[in-house]
């Protein structure tokens, strides 16, 4: 299990490869499920040119560790990885990576889906967008549909 905050942009695909290659259980992996969330250049039908992601550092780190522990208790997972950006973000840059490894597909797929929903609803991050009409704090996450 691993979770951390990134201050700079990162390559989520390379992070998955790196984590998998370094895992002691790599030979047992039968399934890898991943979710990558990226910044859009629009929101609510308005262009968004830039975003700042703020967080509550101590609580964020603690919460992400708890999330991974809960997922591992709930599903038969071999490994998990969570990376979340903070700071200045531009359109198309990754915001969050969640990856789950298991022997069979269902555990990895279900845990990955659960982790991103829990993170979006509870992890203490906040987005501030720069739009044509100025800066604005995002007040609610989308419903994911």
């Amino acid at each position: 299990m691993s979770s951390h905050i990134e201050q700079q942009t990162f390559d989520p695909w390379q992070a998955i490869v790196d984590h998998q290659q370094q895992s002691a259980l790599a030979n047992q992996f039968g399934a890898t499920a991943s979710f990558i969330g990226s910044m859009r250049d629009f929101n609510d039908n308005t262009d968004v040119s830039h975003m700042v992601l703020e967080h509550y550092p101590a609580m964020t780190q603690r919460y992400l560790i708890q999330l991974e522990q809960q997922a591992k208790q709930r599903w038969n997972l071999l490994d998990t990885l969570i990376i979340h950006r903070v700071g200045d973000i531009s359109p198309a840059e990754p915001i969050v990576l969640i990856a789950c490894w298991s022997a069979h597909r269902r555990a990895a797929l279900d845990a990955c889906s659960w982790l991103i929903e829990e993170l979006k609803h509870n992890a203490p991050f906040w987005k501030k967008e720069t739009r044509e009409d100025g800066e604005r704090w995002v007040e609610n996450n989308t419903d994911g549909l």
Partner: protein, 75 residues
């Protein structure tokens, strides 16, 4: 001893301060009243005590860290 108080994101900008310290309070709600000089509390404000989600009725003790913030929007 004292209670550390934090405000994040839009709430920090509304209140005008990110970190402050108060001497004593019995509950998270009382922490809000003292730290904000009884500012109106938006209905959707969340509270955490020592890095865990809590209620405004939750008790606080000297040495605690109490944080107030708006609904989260990460991911």
């Amino acid at each position: 001893m004292s209670i550390q108080v934090k405000f994040f994101a839009s709430l920090r900008e509304t209140i005008g301060v990110g970190d402050t310290t108060i001497n004593h309070a019995g509950s998270a709600g009382e922490v809000w009243d003292i730290a904000t000089d009884k500012a109106d509390r938006p209905i959707n404000v969340l509270v955490a005590i020592n890095l865990e989600y809590a209620q405004f009725t939750s008790p606080v003790e000297d040495g605690d860290e109490v944080a107030f913030f708006p609904p989260v929007t990460g991911g």
